[in-house]
């Protein structure tokens, strides 16, 4: 089953029960993409609540898949090439096999039959979804709509061709459009885009960036006017557009973008991209967080749980079950989609999420009462979904980072690591990667951890916590924080403010044996 949350794990009666000793009320400190039912207009909440990319809460419960039907691209970006693929590669723009629209629809049906959590089908490339006249993209959406009307459709584009297609996008009932916008100043754009192709010609340099910028803004405005939710993706490139992204954020906020997702540059030299080959570095974890915190708030929400998925990813965010659904395997399947199971799953999740809001508020009220002035801390969590601490330390492929303090619990991001326990034996190198990845955290929450890594973490100043195994993340974090404040007062708990962490480059597939 991979690491999709087992349905019985979520639907189990005992586990569904949440602590209910609260007055209720929402006190989420960072609206961010963690915005919930109480913060959004009902019609918008309805659109985003089950979309793992648009709702941070939903990404614990729902799965997405990308179908790679759009190989052609109309611009060149210095951080991208699409020639390289291996099983350990995970970047946007990389796929293992391209699909025809007919193959894509069969794959969607096969996944829907296996994974009832599937709520979203997106087209993100591997080129531009609107490249080459967008023919494959629209044909695929048409076919999916016929067969699976309850699935949400979304697409991701660089925006160059977007103004030409907004009408069709609206007509096909595509609710969510992502535009990658890395600049609003063509001089900066010229350092990111060597060329674009528009109106039958290749344009270079500042002129290319100016055309791209104008079309991006026009496309964004047209989508917002048409009632389509727009997410902006920005790649943070230190020394080129890192400070400039504050300006980008201002522009997209003004134009009504729903969500802004700032992602770290991926630039491993082995990928052969221009930035990879010229030694352009990506940001550190704290550099990324500082920028995200700076632009958070205002009308546009900030996404922090992006996994920079491949254009053919399948499953919950953070995992990729693509290898189970190759064209060859799908061709041999005869999928039967159980609409009833899919609906039941959505209803249970709705109920569970409502209960959770109450129990989170209760836990927070206690913290505010006991430690109103205390500084927030970061914790790392090993989870495989369902908003629970339910992963073994050694099996974790990533840790989710939460900030917890008197203002509440906020999701900060995820950090990829190597699996420490690959074949039953712990591996020292993998442990070092983990230490680097969570170096700014006070504690790591796990379902279970071995004695050896526990000691190493301790020597490093990071506490491993397994007392909340299988409990909910946010409530546990608040309970821990109360205790942490007491221990810090006694001088027995570490203060790790000022530490930074490393963002892992390259290989990650989220696949499990």
């Amino acid at each position: 089953m991979g690491n999709v949350i087992a349905l019985d794990g979520i639907l189990g009666v005992g586990q569904l029960k949440a602590r209910q000793d609260a007055d209720g009320g929402c006190s989420s400190f960072q609206c961010g993409s963690s915005a919930g039912a109480d913060d959004l207009p009902p019609e918008v909440w309805e659109k985003v609540k089950n979309h793992p990319c648009y709702s941070e809460e939903a990404h614990h419960y729902f799965a997405r898949m990308h179908v790679a039907v759009a190989p052609a691209c109309n611009i060149q970006c210095n951080y991208c090439n699409r020639k390289y693929d291996c099983s350990n590669e995970s970047r946007p723009g990389v796929v293992s096999e391209k699909l025809t629209p007919e193959q894509a629809v069969k794959k969607v049906l096969a996944v829907a039959a296996e994974v009832p959590q599937l709520s979203v089908v997106g087209i993100a490339g591997p080129g531009d979804s609107l490249g080459a006249g967008a023919r494959n993209t629209f044909k695929t959406f048409d076919l999916i709509r016929e067969r699976l009307p309850d699935v949400k459709l979304c697409l991701s584009t660089n925006g160059l061709a977007l103004p030409d297609h907004v009408e069709t996008i609206k007509k096909l009932d595509v609710d969510h459009v992502t535009i990658t916008i890395n600049m609003v100043d063509p001089e900066i754009g010229a350092k990111i885009y060597p060329w674009i192709y528009a109106d039958g010609e290749r344009h270079h340099g500042i002129e290319a960036a100016r055309i791209l910028h104008e079309r991006q803004m026009l496309g964004l405005e047209m989508c917002v006017a048409a009632g389509i939710l727009v997410k902006i993706n920005s790649v943070m490139i230190p020394g080129i557009n890192d400070e400039h992204l504050v300006e980008v954020n201002r522009w997209v906020k003004q134009r009504g973008a729903f969500l802004h997702n700032i992602m770290p540059l991926i630039s491993d030299p082995a990928h052969g991209t221009h930035f990879g080959l010229t030694g352009q570095r990506g940001p550190t974890a704290q550099e990324l967080k500082v920028l995200q915190d700076q632009v958070a708030g205002g009308g546009t929400k900030l996404m922090r749980h992006c996994r920079q998925c491949r254009a053919d990813a399948v499953g919950m965010l953070g995992e990729d079950r693509g290898h189970e659904f190759t064209a060859e395997k799908v061709a041999a399947m005869d999928p039967v989609v159980d609409d009833e199971a899919r609906r039941t799953y959505r209803e249970h999740v709705d109920a569970e999420r409502a209960e959770r809001r109450v129990s989170k508020a209760a836990a927070l009220a206690e913290v505010i009462e006991q430690a109103p002035e205390e500084k927030a801390i970061l914790i790392a969590v090993a989870t495989k979904g369902g908003e629970r601490i339910n992963e073994h330390f050694g099996h974790a492929r990533e840790f989710q980072i939460y900030e917890v303090g008197p203002k509440g619990v906020g999701f900060v991001g995820h950090r990829r690591v190597d699996q420490y326990c690959a074949g039953g034996e712990g591996e020292a190198d993998a442990l070092d990667t983990t230490l680097n990845a969570i170096n700014d955290c006070v504690a790591v929450f796990v379902a279970k951890i071995g004695g050896c890594p526990k000691k190493k973490l301790e020597a490093h100043g990071i506490e491993s916590v397994d007392q909340f195994a299988f409990e909910y993340i946010e409530e546990s974090a608040l309970t821990y924080f109360k205790d942490y404040v007491v221990r810090k007062g006694q001088g027995t708990a570490a203060d790790r403010s000022g530490f930074d962490a490393v963002i892992r480059q390259g290989a990650f597939t989220g696949q499990r044996a």
């Binding site: 052609a72 691209c73 060149q76 020639k83 490249g131 080459a132 039958g200 010609e201 290749r202």
Partner: protein, 63 residues
């Protein structure tokens, strides 16, 4: 007078096929190929051949 595609570098993305004003580009085995008989190098349709301008792999040249 015609354009040609280097099959080894072609990633079969299809960007050129969508641009060709004379429908001279089609899929052959694992890469695209240009029909030299009907290719006009975009004479009368664009300043430069569109297929070469859009190709992300820069693998289309004059034959």
């Amino acid at each position: 007078m015609a354009m040609t595609i280097d099959a080894d570098s072609c990633t079969a993305c299809g960007a050129c096929e969508a641009e060709c004003p004379t429908n001279s580009i089609s899929m052959k085995k694992s890469a695209y190929a240009i029909d030299a008989a009907s290719c006009t190098e975009c004479a009368g349709a664009a300043k430069k051949p569109k297929c070469a301008a859009v190709c992300p792999s820069d693998c289309i040249t004059k034959a």
